[in-house]
Symmetry: C2
Amino acid sequence: MQRIVVLAGGIGGARFLRGLKSAVPDAEITVIGNTGDDIHLFGLKVCPDLDTVMYTLGGGIHEEQGWGRSDETFAVKEELAAYGVGPEWFGLGDRDFATHIVRTQMTGAGYPLSAVTEALCDRWQPGVRLLPMTDDRVETHVLVDDPDGGGRKAVHFQEYWVRLRASVPAHAIIPVGAEEAKPAPGVLEALAAADVVLFPPSNPVVSVGTILAVPGVREAVAASKAPVVGLSPIVGDAPVRGMADKVLAAVGVESTAAAVARHYGSDLIDGWLVDTVDAGAVPEVEAAGIRCRAVPLMMTDVEATARMAAEALALAEEVRA
Amino acid sequence: MQRIVVLAGGIGGARFLRGLKSAVPDAEITVIGNTGDDIHLFGLKVCPDLDTVMYTLGGGIHEEQGWGRSDETFAVKEELAAYGVGPEWFGLGDRDFATHIVRTQMTGAGYPLSAVTEALCDRWQPGVRLLPMTDDRVETHVLVDDPDGGGRKAVHFQEYWVRLRASVPAHAIIPVGAEEAKPAPGVLEALAAADVVLFPPSNPVVSVGTILAVPGVREAVAASKAPVVGLSPIVGDAPVRGMADKVLAAVGVESTAAAVARHYGSDLIDGWLVDTVDAGAVPEVEAAGIRCRAVPLMMTDVEATARMAAEALALAEEVRA
């Protein structure tokens, strides 16, 4: 059985995983999930990326939105607003709240996040082994021009992304706590045992980049004997989804498929898929020592996504050979 | 302005307070609320009696049920059950959950329950000053025959009351933590400044009795120069609501209006109202040194309840004179 390890962010990572499962239903897939955008809201621990993967693969996701639960209601949020308790810009629905209540109760009782995630997945049966990148608290902060004027300030990634819609210039991305974090149990073991490692078209800075910032993870990926293949989140010089261009700029990386490949670098990735519209970038990526192919990279449905996953696995075999 | 202090439990206390406010809209009413039936559920701090008072006087109560919120939905509860997280026997609705989330967040941030209650009341504007009896943790436990067989065990009051429906014999009522508890800020001051102290027809053991179990409270009521008048929760040898007879039996008190008056005793109460059907008990109560009148005591609507409150205040004036 093929052992595949995927470093995943939220929506993009989750949708890619659905395609991957469809492409290789018998593979043993381990997902190392980003927890840098975790946030404490209303005293509850919210893990947006882990939940998006869990809900998407478990059949509970709000399909159109890409995050949160289907058939959602908002009574709790309404009531919190009536109490004057914010923030109001983070849209937690009633069903979603239950997940955070269970998680918070378990972490409060002393369970590490990895154990909590496993318990939550007992219900959702995502068909992959979902591991948080770390059990330690890491919070991605973004250094921005203060929207209220006068200088710069660091805000939580969710505040930058959800409240400010990435509309203010970002000058730095800081994964607070990452330096002291340890990979969660199973993370390094999964990387060591992997037949293939994949970077889905997730945000290379605040999703995959944050996972790689946990000491030991980047090293384990780089040291892996398995082929490491990534899929470009940038298609035609713009992010397919989200605002990856803004955070790429903050770390001094151009928003092109080739620049992201060079940002990861040939010490980390062996192969890179760009979209057919970026076929012209293939020579540049290969010149950087990374095997590159141009294939359709739009995750329009599960079938198209499965084809992308199959292309990534084919490129991995090509690299291995 | 007349200063009235009321020692209140849940449904009965809350409905009595609504009648009292209607009878004397200009009075300054301080409510000392029972927190002995508080319970931690799903990691959240739930204060059923405080909330019942707050929701009832603030217009948010589920009228027919007597507790919980009106227009309630149960998405969170459904989801918790889907996660296999219990207990399922405690019916928390989505709107109600928001209250417990706010409370838990505030207590987690270090605010005492009295400050949290004040903050919650900012929204509900109950028209009374609602004080928890204590900021310390007190939990009423009930010693019962183990429903699973073999001996006795202590269960949380809510488990006895809500899950077991008081259907197993109760041998003792233990307000765990009460001995070490201190009255919340304002409790003793309110009693010292009171013009009248009222015991509504709340449960004399697990509601009023628990409040009196906080060291200093019974003494302050007994020492008060203000008339102390109670209303019998027992009408015609049966509790008007709930299962007060079961917990009265556990403390060796007969379920009669006169026995409850004697249980409080003339060192605590100066006046006692019994229902007209219990008019025969008046001489027995008066023989115990407690002024007693028989008046209708069924809280069928706000008007009837207001008349009860007015009778209690009239009896207080009679005692004072």
